[in-house]
C-alpha cells in the first residue's frame, strides 16, 4: 500500500511537472485564498497577543468587571455600529466601584467610563475627544506613566484633568508647559494636572487610546457631562493566589448592591483578553468570509484543471486499465494530483500570507503571528479543498471504460 502511495505520488508529481504553467496557475488560485486566510489569522493572533502581553505587564492580579448584555454578540455589535451612541447602556454604577473596594483583598478598583466631547484650549478646539472618567486608583492599576504633573486625587468636585501625550500636543502644541493651564469642556473650566507619557501600544483591553484621551474624575464627568456609562471596572487584587475567590466575592458584592441584578461579568486572567474592538471583529470576520470565498474559487480552479487533465489523458487511463490498473488505482492517481496541487498552493499561500503579514507589520503594530494552529488549519483546509474539488474529476477518470478510452486519441 505504502508502495502504491509512493507510486501515485511520483505519477502525480510527474504530471504536475509536465504541465508547469498550468499547475502553477492552479496553485496560485489556492495560494491567494490561503494567503488571505493566513493574513487574517495572523492579524487576529497578533492583536490578541498584544492584549495578552499587556495583561501580563499589568500583572496577574487584575480582575475586570464588565457589564454584559442579554443580547447575543452579533446583534450587540450590529446595534453598536448602527446607533449614534457607540456605547451600550451600562448597568454598572459608581456605587458599584465603592462596593468592590470594600471587598476583602481588593487593593484598588478603577472604573472606566468613556464619552466624547469638545475640548477647548486657549489655542485650539477639538471635537470628539475621548474623555475617560475614572478615579485615583486608575494609575495604580494601569501601566501608565506621567510625563509631567500628578495624577487625579480623590477630592470631591475635582476640576483637574490629565491629558494624553498626543492630545496635549494638539491642544497646546507642547507637552512640557501644559501643566497648570486651563481647558474648557462644556463651558466648565478644568485645570491640567498632568500629562501622560507616550503609549507604545495603542491597543489594550480598556479599548481606550490613551494618547488621544483626556482623563478626569468620574464624579466630575458625571456631573458636567451628565453621561457616564461605565464600560468596565478594573480591579487590582492584593495577591494573585485567590483570584477566583476574590472575583466571586466581587460578584456577590455587586449583586448585593444591585439587589440581585446579574447583568455583568467578572473576568480575570486570560479571559480578559478578548478582541480589543468589536469593529475589528466584524472587519476580520468579513475578510475571513472573503478569503474563504477566494479559496473556494481556487478549489474550483483545481477541479477545472483536473477535469481537463482527465479528458486529455483518457487514452492513458485506457492503457493503464488495460495493463492492470483498477478503478481505485486511477482514482487515487488523480486524487493525489489534485491534493498535491492544493497542498502546493497551500504552502505557497502560507509563504505569501506571511510575507504580506510582515509587510503589514512594517506599517502597523501587528507583528506577524505564527502558531502551529494556524499551520494546522492551513494544511487541513488545503487538504479538504483538494479532496472536495479533486474527488469528482478523479471519480470521472476512474469510471472510464477501458475499451472506449483506448479508442480515444488526443
Amino acid at each position: 500500500m505504502a508502495l502504491l502511495v509512493r507510486t501515485h505520488y511520483r505519477l502525480a508529481r510527474a504530471a504536475i511537472k509536465d504541465n508547469r504553467t498550468r499547475s502553477f496557475l492552479t496553485c496560485l488560485g489556492i495560494a491567494i485564498g490561503v494567503a488571505s486566510i493566513i493574513l487574517i489569522l495572523s492579524l487576529m493572533g497578533s492583536i490578541s497577543n498584544l492584549v495578552k502581553e499587556q495583561t501580563k505587564e499589568i500583572g496577574a492580579d487584575l480582575i475586570v468587571v464588565r457589564p454584559s448584555s442579554t443580547k447575543d454578540n452579533v446583534t450587540n455589535i450590529v446595534e453598536e455600529l448602527t446607533s449614534a451612541n457607540s456605547f451600550q447602556k451600562s448597568n454598572l454604577a459608581i456605587s458599584d466601584v465603592k462596593a468592590i473596594k470594600n471587598v476583602e483583598h481588593v487593593a484598588a478598583a478603577a472604573p472606566i467610563a468613556v464619552s466624547t466631547n469638545t475640548v477647548e484650549s486657549e489655542k485650539n478646539t477639538f471635537d470628539s475627544v475621548p474623555i475617560l472618567g475614572t478615579n485615583s486608583d486608575f494609575i495604580k492599576i494601569e501601566p501608565l506613566a506621567l510625563r509631567y504633573g500628578s495624577f487625579l486625587t480623590d477630592t470631591e468636585d475635582s476640576k483637574s484633568v490629565i491629558l494624553g501625550h498626543t492630545l496635549s500636543l494638539a491642544l497646546f502644541n507642547t507637552i512640557n508647559s501644559t501643566v497648570g493651564k486651563t481647558i474648557n469642556i462644556m463651558g466648565e473650566k478644568f485645570m491640567v494636572a498632568g500629562v501622560l507619557d507616550e503609549i507604545e501600544k495603542s491597543i489594550n483591553f480598556d479599548n481606550v487610546d490613551f494618547d488621544n484621551a483626556l482623563i478626569m474624575d468620574i464624579n466630575s464627568l458625571d456631573k458636567y457631562t451628565g453621561s457616564t456609562q461605565i464600560q468596565q471596572i478594573n480591579v487590582k487584587a492584593e495577591n494573585t493566589d485567590s483570584l477566583a475567590t476574590i472575583s466571586s466575592d466581587i460578584r456577590s458584592a455587586i449583586e448585593n448592591q444591585k439587589q440581585g441584578d446579574k447583568n455583568f461579568t467578572v473576568t480575570y486572567g486570560d479571559d480578559i483578553t478578548h478582541p480589543a474592538s468589536n469593529l475589528f471583529t466584524i472587519v476580520s470576520g468579513m475578510l475571513a468570509i472573503v478569503a474563504g470565498i477566494s479559496l473556494i474559487v481556487g478549489g474550483i480552479g483545481v477541479m477545472n484543471i483536473m477535469l481537463v487533465s482527465v479528458a486529455e489523458r483518457t487514452h492513458e487511463i485506457g492503457i493503464r486499465k488495460a495493463v492492470g490498473a483498477s478503478s481505485r488505482n486511477i482514482l487515487i492517481q488523480f486524487l493525489f494530483e489534485a491534493l498535491i496541487l492544493s497542498i502546493l498552493g497551500g504552502i505557497f499561500g502560507l509563504v505569501l500570507g506571511y510575507i504580506l503579514a510582515f509587510l503589514l507589520s512594517v506599517i502597523t503594530p501587528f507583528a506577524p503571528y505564527i502558531s502551529w494552529q494556524i499551520l494546522a488549519v492551513t494544511f487541513l483546509t488545503t487538504l479538504v479543498v483538494g479532496i472536495i474539488f479533486g474527488i469528482y474529476p478523479a471519480l470521472k477518470a476512474a469510471s472510464k471504460n477501458p475499451i472506449d478510452s483506448l479508442k480515444h486519441y488526443r
Partner: protein
Amino acid sequence: MSENILIELKGLTKRYGYGDTESYALKDFDLTIKRGEFIMIMGPSGCGKTTLLNIIGLLDRASKGEYILNGENVAGISARRQAKLRAKKIGFVFQNFNLIEDLTVIDNVALPLVYTGYSKTAQLKNASNALKRFHLNEREYYLPYQLSGGQQQRVAIARAIVGDPEIILADEPTGNLDSRSSHIVMEELKAIHEEGNTIIMVTHNPSLTSYATRVINMLDGQIDTDVKTVADANLPQPISVKIKKRKKVEESEFVSMPTDEIKKEPTEEEPTEEDESKEPAKPKKKRKKSKNNKKDRRNK
C-alpha cells in the same frame, strides 16, 4: 488437472443495443484454449474478433455465458479482481501500440508492474531485462515518438511480457507495420510462444498463419473453421520464469507449479527420515518436505 486447459468459453454471447438496434458481436461462442497454444483469429471486420479478445482480456464482459480462466469462472467477478487478473495474467499488444507518450520507454514497459506491488527498482530492473530481450536496452530513456513503429511495437510486447503473464493477447500487432517490422515482431512473438506462453492473436493477414498452432476463422460472432496445425502433445511446455520476481513465488503458482513438481520429486524420499533428526538445522528443507507430505497424502 484436465490436460492443461487454460481458457474455456461456454455459450459466450455479447449483445449490443436493445430491440431494433440489437446486434450480436458474439453468439453462443464456445472455445477451449490449452496452455501453450498460439492461436490466430481471422475473419472479416465486425465478426467479433476484437470483442472476443477484449472479453478474454477481461476488459469487457459478455452479456451471457461462462468464461473459465484457470478453472475459475471469471465472467462475474468484480472489476477490481478483473484488474488484478489483467495485471498478473494477461498481457496486451495493440495494433496502435498504445504506449503512454509522456513516459519513457522503460517506464512504459514497467507499467504493469506498478499495479502489482513491485518496488521502483524491481520495476526498472525487470523492465530493463525485458527490453534487453528485444535489443532495445539502449533506448530505455527515449520517448515513444522517438522510436520507429517496429520498435514501438517491440516496446509494447516487452510491456506485455514484463509481468510474466500466462496469456498474451495481440490485436493485429502487425497492422500498422511494414513487412520487415512485421516479420521481426512475429519472430519475437514466436520466440515468446516457444517459451511456453499462450498467445491469442487477431489478424487480417493470412500469411502470418504459419506462425500459429491453431487458426480460427470467425464469421458473424461464431467459429467458422478451427484448424490445429500442431498436435496438443507437441505444444511447447511452459518453462520457468525468466525474469526474477521480487514477490513470493506463490503468486505465480500456475506458471511454476509443473516445474516445481518435477524438481521436487527425486528428493522426496530422502528427507523424510533425515528431517526428524535434523529438524532445527534445516528449516528450509523442512518446509518443502511438509508441503510434499501433504501432497502425498492427497495423492493417496
